[in-house]
């Protein structure tokens, strides 16, 4: 059940209306657990067992960590981390290791034959395992009390709006909200619905339209002209933003309707003036996770190494973030490119400050934005390609500046329309970042127009959200 499906719309109506008809929080929690199980099982039912297994392990680990002292606390934390990372390793990374072992063996003339796992990746595995780990780590650090109520803890991990593609939540934010009975609030309903519609607009009107261009250029790399390939890379940047932030808007909107506030995942990353600023505004929940649980602890333990510590910590953090996105070399390269860019920014910050201080501020900002934007267009080629070799070929073909087919898979009129809807999206997010419409009349008008726009200008090809694969 993807967010852009009829099944979700009907399901959401049943759950939300039922949610508000219940008069106590116990009933609401139970309803949301059943709804989340149905939501998750609608993809591949059997995988609920994996989710259930990790929930039980982490719940028990949390209780034990709180109860125990000294070495035993560490033992339970490590057990929980092993359970989560182990699940990730088996279902997401096992085939990657085996494939590389096979290829490495073949390179050295050794014949290694290990079985590969023939099964689809459990949906949202990387998201819910990370969320579960943040709980046990926070309990271990004594920033969060262990949750005694199993149902509330289970709902923290499997709350359906953010179950399969985040935002990766923190226990301090969600657990108190799940325990508190919050009455119906019309303003929240309006805000949530308006935000959900904005998310649908970004997904079906922009992302799925741009997908036609991007899919064509990436599947016709050899025949396309350099200009067409550049356009494909350029539009992918907007596609992935509208796809993922559209998903996040729907998730946050659905939760807001039920009076639950999830953490923001995006904060207008397009206008970032540096790579480090970009990473504070893009997929915020994941990168704050890496910052809190990987970069920071690592940096403090290696602090005495000075600048080497920064370099090493950035390389490790972004290597892991690339690996989180996919068990492939092109995702790892994507992560490492980000690390290299951040290292460059760190070591040249003084020189750049001097250089840019000689320019007018507006020009300085514009140039910084263009450079940051350009770097991401280049780096995202590794993210979108099927293999690292394909990404290199794509970049090579752009740099060759050769002719070929300029066809982008879209009619010229539709191309212009795509640019128009992107501009509308950028202006709206910059100028009107909120979603609450105070006047009821205006709200209904907005609702009606957005439904019509999404229907008439939406591309309904049942495209899954890109981040579902992670």
């Amino acid at each position: 059940m993807t967010f852009n499906s009829l099944q979700f719309l009907v399901f959401f109506m049943v759950v939300t209306l039922w949610f508000f008809s219940l008069k106590n929080q116990k009933g609401r929690v139970l309803l949301l657990i059943i709804a989340s199980c149905y939501f998750y099982m609608s993809f591949i039912p059997e995988y609920i067992l994996i989710l259930g297994g990790t929930i039980i392990v982490d719940y028990l680990a949390g209780l034990q960590i709180e109860k125990s002292e000294g070495g035993r606390r560490k033992f339970w934390l490590i057990l929980s981390l092993i359970a989560n990372i182990g699940t990730l390793c088996v279902f997401k990374y096992y085939n990657f290791f085996i494939d590389n072992l096979h290829e490495g063996g073949a390179f050295f003339g050794m014949s290694i034959s290990l079985p590969v796992l023939k099964m689809a990746l459990p949906l949202g595995l990387s998201f819910h395992t990370f969320q579960a780990m943040s709980y046990t780590i926070e309990v271990y650090r004594e920033n969060q009390k262990a949750e005694k109520n199993f149902a509330v803890y289970a709902l923290y991990v499997m709350f359906y709006p953010q179950l399969v593609a985040g935002p990766i939540e923190r226990p301090q934010n969600v657990l108190p909200q799940l325990k508190e009975f919050r009455p119906y609030n019309w303003d929240n309903v309006k805000e949530g619905l308006a935000r959900m519609l904005w998310g649908f607009y970004k997904k079906v009107v922009i992302a799925d339209r741009l997908a036609m261009i991007v899919d064509r250029t990436y599947s016709h790399t050899n025949e396309s002209s350099s200009l067409a390939l550049f356009a494909g890379a350029f539009f992918y940047y907007f596609q992935i933003y509208c796809d993922f932030s559209g998903y996040s808007d729907i998730a946050l909107g659905a939760a807001t309707v039920m009076n639950i506030r999830l953490i923001e995942n995006f904060n207008q990353p397009f206008f970032s003036k540096s790579i480090s600023e970009f990473w504070r505004k893009w997929h915020i929940s994941l990168y704050s996770w890496f910052y809190d649980y990987v970069f920071n602890p690592l940096f403090f333990s290696l602090k005495s190494w000075g600048n080497y510590a920064i370099v090493l910590c950035l390389l490790i953090t972004f290597f892991l973030s690339g690996f989180w996105h996919g068990a492939t070399w092109h995702h790892i390269i994507y992560g490492l490119l980000m690390a290299v860019a951040l290292i460059y920014e760190y070591f040249t910050r003084e020189q750049r400050k001097k250089l840019f201080s000689k320019m007018p501020k507006a020009l300085n900002n514009l140039l910084s934005m263009i450079l940051t934007f350009g770097f991401f267009i280049f780096a995202e080629i590794f993210f979108r390609s099927q293999t690292a070799t394909a990404a290199c070929t794509y970049i090579k073909k752009i740099l060759e500046l050769k002719g070929g087919s300029n066809y982008l898979g879209l009619d010229r009129m539709e191309l212009l329309f795509s640019v128009l809807v992107i501009v509308i999206m950028l202006c709206r997010e910059k100028l009107l970042p909120g979603h609450l419409i105070n006047s009821n009349k205006r709200f209904y008008l907005y609702l009606f127009s957005m439904v019509l726009i999404c229907y008439f200008f939406g591309v309904f090809a049942e495209n899954q959200f890109i981040y579902f694969q992670f």
């Binding site: 109506m13 049943v14 209306l17 099982m41 059997e46 599947s219 009619d411 008439f456």
Partner: protein, 356 residues
């Protein structure tokens, strides 16, 4: 009070819609009842399934009339005691029901899997496996055919069933218990919901206007349908992606092995001959420049032990003659040609038998 009643009614309506769209029985029942041209009837794909999917009836050029019947054919007698079995999909639909006489000279033609038959081993039994190209990789990626036929036979309480292979589904690891989830989940739920909530004759002007906007303003079809490069055919979007994906040697080996296993399985059960006929999708024939050569690769693989009814070679030489412009299936000429090819093969066999 009024708000509360309205809310409860809405919950009930949504829950019932969700449940009805999950239940196969209810969907079959409502489909029968709603097969009417009244305002509450559902939109019938009379001008071709792709025209229907894209709601492009407004553009007359793609309107198609898919093949229902083919000419009768009486050239052979039935003295040679042969029974023909057909395991097919929508391409060969209606052959059994409407004009089984088109397959000449045979006492019987049975739809294998779901047909009412018992294999008579005193006769010469021939099995034709007909399958659309787009389904081959999924269907023969495992031994699903054997399982499907076995389950259908079991439901009909047919005795003497051929043994089921040990493992017919390699999708999941064996440690997952086989949970029966059919009561709660349905893969086609979104199509069913669309049918129940929006697919009414009175809603068609709205769907048509979106289709017209896309066609005349953006020059494309909507949803799962795309227009061919030469602007003559509507194509299923999925097929235009699938027909380009290269086939690896491992995958080919697996497919051939599975096909041979299926062939051996049914030979042991009592079939004298087994034929495979892969029907190309429209994209394969209409825009061959990006084709992955899937059908020729399978048909010409020396390891394949099944006999082939090669309609691909016939169709690729004259696409316009055999394809529908707005339907995934072939037109009446395509089906007629296929039936003629079967007749030719069978006639050859008859002659060989006679000479013996």
């Amino acid at each position: 009070m009024f708000k509360k009643i309205a809310r409860d009614l809405l919950i009930l309506f949504c829950a019932v819609t969700l449940w009805a769209s999950t239940s196969r029985t209810i969907m079959e029942y409502t489909s029968q009842k709603r097969s009417t041209d009244k305002w509450w009837g559902f939109y019938d794909y009379l001008n071709g399934n792709l025209v229907g999917l894209s709601h492009l009836d407004i553009v007359k050029k793609f309107n198609s009339h898919p093949a229902l019947g083919v000419n009768e054919h009486h050239t052979l007698d039935s003295a040679y005691n042969t029974v023909l079995y057909l395991h097919g999909d929508s391409y060969s639909a209606y052959i059994q029901d409407v004009n089984f006489k088109c397959i000449s000279g045979f006492q019987n033609i049975n739809r294998y899997s779901g047909g009412n038959y018992t294999l008579d081993r005193t006769k010469r039994n021939i099995l034709i496996i007909e399958i659309a190209e787009m389904q081959v990789r999924d269907y023969f990626g495992s031994l699903r055919m054997i399982k499907d036929v076995y389950e259908a036979d079991k439901r009909k309480e047919i005795t003497g069933l051929p043994h089921l292979p040990v493992s017919t589904d390699a999708r999941y690891l064996s440690f997952f218990p086989d949970i029966n989830t059919g009561l709660f989940f349905n893969k086609n739920i979104n199509q069913n919901l669309e049918c129940n909530l929006f697919n009414y004759n009175f809603m068609m002007p709205m769907f048509g206007s979106k289709a017209a906007l896309n066609y005349y303003f953006f020059h494309r079809a909507s949803g799962d349908v795309v227009i061919s490069n030469d602007w003559k055919f509507l194509l299923q979007k999925e097929s235009t992606i699938k027909y380009r994906i290269p086939i690896t040697s491992d995958e080919m080996t697996e497919l051939i092995e599975n096909l041979n296993k299926i062939g051996n399985h049914y030979k042991q059960y009592g079939f004298s001959e087994i034929y495979l006929s892969i029907i190309p999708c429209t994209a394969t024939i209409a825009q061959p420049e990006e084709y992955n050569n899937f059908i020729p690769l399978i048909q010409n693989d020396p390891r394949l032990a099944l006999k082939i009814i090669d309609i691909y070679s016939v169709m690729k030489n004259s696409p316009e003659e055999y394809l529908c412009h707005g339907d995934t299936h072939w037109n009446i000429n395509g089906k007629q040609k296929w039936v003629e090819m079967i007749n030719e093969i069978l006639a050859k066999n008859q002659t060989q038998l006679k000479n013996h």
